[in-house]
Symmetry: C2
Subunit: 342 residues, 2 copies
């Protein structure tokens, strides 16, 4: 069923039928009813490609996923962010498109997306320090919103980010207040912008109290369970092991806990943990009382906000760029306690 035959069926022109369905005022209310009923009866939906061609709108948002690290697509943080975004898209009748791209082909992928007019805008996830995608997309004039920020980029762009520096600074101060002075940091990959900001927060808090930093206590890598476990085991074997560990994700925190328990220590008594908690849907931090003391900020929510921002910019290109800085809350769980005496 298409417009043409539907119009014939109704004895009307395509114009009138189209307008009736799209809510234009210049069509008699009675006719509109007739048209809508017929459309429902025949289960008519305008062909999305034809409509897109005529309107110039794709009604589609692109997400580009680097294939480099398999993890990216599969990363639970990624999943939750995308879940939130797609809620927003659904509200506006947009769809989301995923393109996996071989390593290093980002640029041509974005160019292609633009040239093909496949999407109305894109979301950038996991920005690096000095991320080349930002100047590229600005140059391409393709609407975009970044989840996170990119240190070193001067030009304006739209972003939604958590105040990573502040939240890790607060978490570190919290541990310092409990008397901890040897605090480990198990962080994400160093070239990721968020990891750098978290480290900055950690360092700032230590510096403010005149606590020296120890490179042996600062590790960064992809935040898997195994990584958390591995690094914790190493740190515990140091001559002066940490009494507290700060980690960048719940997943690695699970590994940290595992290493602690394997060492016969008790979390929250012998050694404290604070983790960043993205409030992942399938990885809840305990039921009522959180297992881990955590800096908490919902990445699902961030996805919604970023998507709404992007859609608003597509509709109103005037109000670009927009930015939004979210503050993480510091929630106290059972994984922190006063530094052990000794």
């Amino acid at each position: 069923m298409n417009l043409k035959t539907l119009a014939q069926e109704l004895g009307l022109s395509q114009t009138t039928v189209s307008r009736a369905l799209n809510g234009y005022p210049e069509v008699n209310e009675a006719t509109r009813q007739r048209v809508q009923q017929a459309a429902a009866r025949y289960n008519y939906r305008p062909n999305s490609r034809a409509k897109g061609l005529a309107t110039g709108r794709a009604m589609m948002i692109g997400h580009v996923i680097p294939a480099s690290t398999r993890h990216e697509m599969v990363n639970p943080v990624f999943g939750d962010f995308v879940g939130g975004a797609s809620d927003a898209y659904a509200r506006h009748n947009f769809d989301m498109m995923f393109t996996r791209v071989a390593d290093g082909n980002d640029e041509s992928t974005y160019r292609e997306l633009k040239a093909k007019r496949a999407v109305d805008g894109v979301i950038i996830q996991g920005p690096l320090v000095n991320d080349a995608r930002i100047p590229l997309l600005n140059a391409l004039d393709l609407p975009f919103v970044v989840h996170g920020r990119s240190s070193g980029i001067d030009e304006p762009y739209s972003w939604v980010d958590v105040n990573n520096k502040r939240s890790f600074q607060r978490a570190t101060e919290f541990l310092l207040d409990l008397g901890h002075t040897r605090i480990g940091l198990i962080n994400g990959l160093e070239h990721m912008d968020f990891a750098q900001r978290r480290r900055d927060g950690y360092l700032a808090a230590l510096k403010a109290r005149g606590i020296p930093t120890d490179p042996a206590l600062m590790r960064s890598n992809e935040m898997t369970e195994v990584f958390g476990h591995h690094q914790t085991r190493h740190m515990l074997q140091l001559d002066a092991p940490p009494t507290a560990i700060l980690t960048s994700s719940m997943i690695s925190a699970i590994g940290v806990r595992r290493a602690i328990e394997e060492a016969g220590l008790k979390m929250g008594r012998d050694i404290s943990i604070i983790t960043h908690d993205d409030e992942l849907s399938y990885l809840k931090n305990g039921q009522d009382v959180p297992i881990f003391t955590a800096t908490r900020s919902s990445v699902w929510k961030a996805g919604e906000i970023a998507a709404e921002m992007l859609l608003s910019q597509i509709n109103e290109p005037a109000n670009v760029p927009q930015t939004r800085l979210l503050e993480a809350e510091l929630v106290v769980g059972r994984s922190t306690g006063p530094a052990p005496q000794g």
Copy 2:
């Protein structure tokens, strides 16, 4: 830049330019070179909607995600499957589209996808027992492949599945051979088809050895870490606690292990665990020697296979339906050992 102006620029007709770029033979090789170079120079890409309208192909595969359970999209199994699928799509220049759908609106969503011609085919994930989507899609005549099967559906359809029954039967037999007779089953939601098949395998193995089944040892729910932990704690408090536990996912196995360790028991000595391991990219089962003994089958790979199957059906509607049953391997890790004497 579009075909028309590119053709003008070259002093050729749109026909020739189009054919040159699409590799048709009836164009002089020299001209083709000229055209390709010009296309590259202007960074020309055919407008995907126009192309789709002309060809009737969307070059897009749909994935519909029920919003009911937030978990769905975020579920790591989902993520890995989709990762594998998108690898296959990328090879064939297809893109993937995600539509989140409010609970219970599946039917209208699929109808709409069909009517709008938004996609060339869809993938069904997480089939239930007697899943209504299968007859619907058959009726709609929209190409689809199911990841898993649906017991109770008679009509033919294409699927890719792991031999869940057999693999859990083998795992159970393995435990029985080690002398275990009280074996717990921590399974996925009962209305999920895979959970039912796994239970069947478990029951078949017990029955073959004349071991009575105990409902107190069979639990099913969404497979979170917390669920594994919670159920294990309960089971360990029984008068006759299990000496082995079979669980349906690595994530809940982690919870199982936590409960075991909290109880002061040692995994692999006091109590054995076998888990199903989907070989999730970010949740590896140990490095060289697996942590958990596991029935192993890569869900990433399954995604690739399902996607290839769907694409082949789109190109060749004749060879429908196809099916593919994957056998899981049983890999021995450090989580199993002989049943403790007692």
